[in-house]
Amino acid sequence: MKNNTVKIKFRIFRFNPSVDSSGRWDEYELEVDKSTTILDVLLRIKEAIDPTLAVRYSCRQAVCGSCGMIVNGKQRLACFTRVLELNSSIVTIEPLRNLPIIRDLVTDFSDLFKKERMVKPYVIRSDVEEITKPTGMYLQRPEELLEYLQFADCIECGLCSSACPTYSTDPLFLTPMVLNKAYRFTADSRDMGLYDRFSIIDSEHGCWRCHFAAACSSVCPKGVDPAKSIQLLKKVTISASIFNRVKKRRVELALRPHAAESPI
């Protein structure tokens, strides 16, 4: 150790589908200190050693969910993982599993986003008049907010879907990220769209294909616990489809006299 820095060997998976027939491992040795993150290392390699290394990132503070990758065998955010926390002299970095590789550490999320659109990830209401010409805002009690608050923290980094054993065998499975999103809106007291999402979440490849391995929750960097939201979604699905029982919700509207005049 010199000047509080440590020399660490990084093994990085390299693969360009348009050129390579298979992937390879490139090795780099860099000095890191206690504040160096995996993203810092990758950007240093890109800037000083190998500019062809492909990395996707944006916010650098675990908010955007762009830099998900597998570090030492576990799904992590590169910007949120300090190298020395790994306690390892050799660090392996791979792209996320279960998703097609665009290049090197960048994976294709199109499948996840298409599935997300299928579950209608927004508040659905039947009072179209109020939605199109708002006269106020819907009130929500603190206890109603708590029903979905944890699940609303999802940053869509896809780590959960990459860790999911069901998604690795069943490419049609909706994945924890999408099912969590479906529950987040279903549990929202302002939402009335359970039956609009029903044909997708209660399908052969919907929430019932989750076998509760809970790998998704163990890798979530935001503590969302998608495994829990999927079990809660199963409960809601059973109540609605078999017992025809959907939680009755009465949403109060706080009138705002000038709401109709202001542009949305």
Partner: protein, 111 residues
């Protein structure tokens, strides 16, 4: 991604939640009826149960629960391994016919 590929409900058109709730109920039923069946054969004092008329009903319920639970388990595994709509419909039909045939055969000729 085609929504219809995910949305597949199979040949009987039963919702997945209904199939899975029945799967769990069948599992509990196996535990209860299986326990009655095993205990009546192993404990002399409980052997009397075998003489009751309802004992044969217990065996029939046990058989139905085992068949549903097992074949639905096979369906779930194959649905994940071969996620194709055409295959899913054929598989569901085959499993229903297999289940009903086994139920009729075992309840009439074995039990």
């Amino acid at each position: 991604m085609d929504a219809d590929r995910v949305r597949s409900v199979g040949v009987v058109g039963m919702r997945e939640s209904v199939k899975m709730l029945l799967h769990y109920i069948a599992g509990v039923t196996i535990l209860v009826t299986g326990a009655i069946h095993i205990m009546s054969g192993h404990f002399k004092t409980l052997g009397l149960i075998k003489t009751w008329d309802l004992y044969s009903v217990n065996k029939i319920i046990f058989l139905a629960a085992v068949l549903y639970h097992a074949l639905n388990g096979v369906r779930v595994i194959l649905t994940e391994l071969i996620p194709r709509r055409g295959f899913s419909d054929v598989m569901n039909t085959v499993l229903i016919i297999l289940g009903l045939s086994l139920f009729v055969y075992v309840s009439l000729f074995v039990l």
